[in-house]
């Protein structure tokens, strides 16, 4: 049974997030005075056809490091969901 890997990629704090900044300005212009900061990342779903969660996790981490994120400027988080 396959697993659904939900991968979130975000820019590291030290990297200027120009998209997040532009959206943050827009939210403040809309009058949301309690909005403090906005950062934009990517959300990726990958279906991995593996029986074992350990193997699905290994592949999920490997593809996140190898292609889906660039460790120089991005962080990622991985969540696995069993698909019935």
């Amino acid at each position: 049974m396959p697993y659904l890997a939900k991968i979130k990629v975000t820019l590291r704090q030290s990297i200027l997030d120009v998209q997040g900044k532009a959206v943050d300005h827009a939210l403040k212009n809309l009058g949301y005075r309690t909005v403090e900061s906005t950062r934009i990342g990517k959300y990726i779903e990958v279906t991995i056809n593996e029986e074992e969660i350990v193997e699905a996790e290994r592949i999920g981490n490997e593809i996140s490091r190898k292609l889906l994120s660039n460790p120089v400027m991005e962080n990622y988080s991985l969540e696995l969901e069993y698909i019935k």
Binding site: I15, L16, V18, Q19, L67, L68, N70, V72, M73
Partner: protein, 234 residues
């Protein structure tokens, strides 16, 4: 005299490949060879250029998918053997993604796609790509990119500086490194860097667009000329 072949890699979405081919072909004794991204054969070229453009639509991150093209396996090996590899704009992004150069390029500081004639200073003229420039010469070469904001962790920047690996910096027309002269927010105004071995150069500005009088500047021409002198043993 037989001609020396120089490869120009074509990824789906490359759009400066023919400009680069045109610039390369204008040198006598040098023959451009177009290398398709799906090829494995480098056809005996003596140097490789990764041109500008939007390989794979810049999906995910600029250069990230191109880096895994079949031809890149050969290019990486070619570079590791010490042969010259030049990455221009998107080509620079591919070199960083492939790990042949250190660091990363993120969105321009001011969110805009930048397309303009820019002053850069050749700060290291002892490389095989810059030997025909005068030390600290200010050049007028266009940039055209949305993701050219060079970033690397402090220890990498320190190492680049220590080993003279920063080759081009954005400056004003006098050659001064100022914040105003920095178009995209790059750390230390970095416009181009070289690897430690000195055979892989990546830069955001487009020397092929400043290689004939008709284009308004000839300043990019000597970059190709330096490289071709090197590979022809002049």
């Amino acid at each position: 005299m037989s001609e020396i072949s120089v490869g120009v890699v074509v990824f789906p979405g490359s759009n400066c490949d023919h400009d680069t081919e045109h610039a390369v072909a204008s040198f006598s004794g040098i023959k451009p060879v177009m290398l398709w991204h799906n090829d494995h054969d480098l056809q005996g070229v003596k140097a490789i250029i990764l041109p500008g453009g939007f390989s794979y639509g810049d999906y995910l991150r600029a250069g990230s998918i191109a880096r895994f093209s079949p031809i890149m396996k050969e290019v990486i090996e070619f570079a590791r053997k010490g042969f010259p590899v030049l990455g221009i704009c998107n080509g620079f992004q591919v070199l960083l993604e492939s790990g042949l150069l250190d660091g990363a390029l993120s969105r321009n500081r001011d969110k805009k796609f930048l397309c303009s004639q820019t002053a850069i200073r050749a700060v290291n003229c002892s490389t095989i790509f810059t030997s025909l420039y005068k030390e600290d010469e200010v050049l007028s070469i266009p940039i055209a990119h949305g993701e050219g904001n060079y970033f690397a962790p402090p220890e990498v920047i320190e190492s680049l500086e220590e080993h003279d690996q920063i080759v081009f910096k954005y400056t004003d027309v006098q050659g001064l490194v100022t914040e105003e002269a920095n178009p995209n927010g790059s750390l230390k105004n970095i416009a181009g860097i070289i690897n430690l071995q000195g055979n892989v150069l990546g830069l955001m500005p487009h020397p092929e667009r400043a290689s004939e009088k008709m284009l308004g500047s000839l300043d990019g021409r000597r970059l190709f000329e330096s490289l071709f002198h090197h590979i022809s043993g002049v």
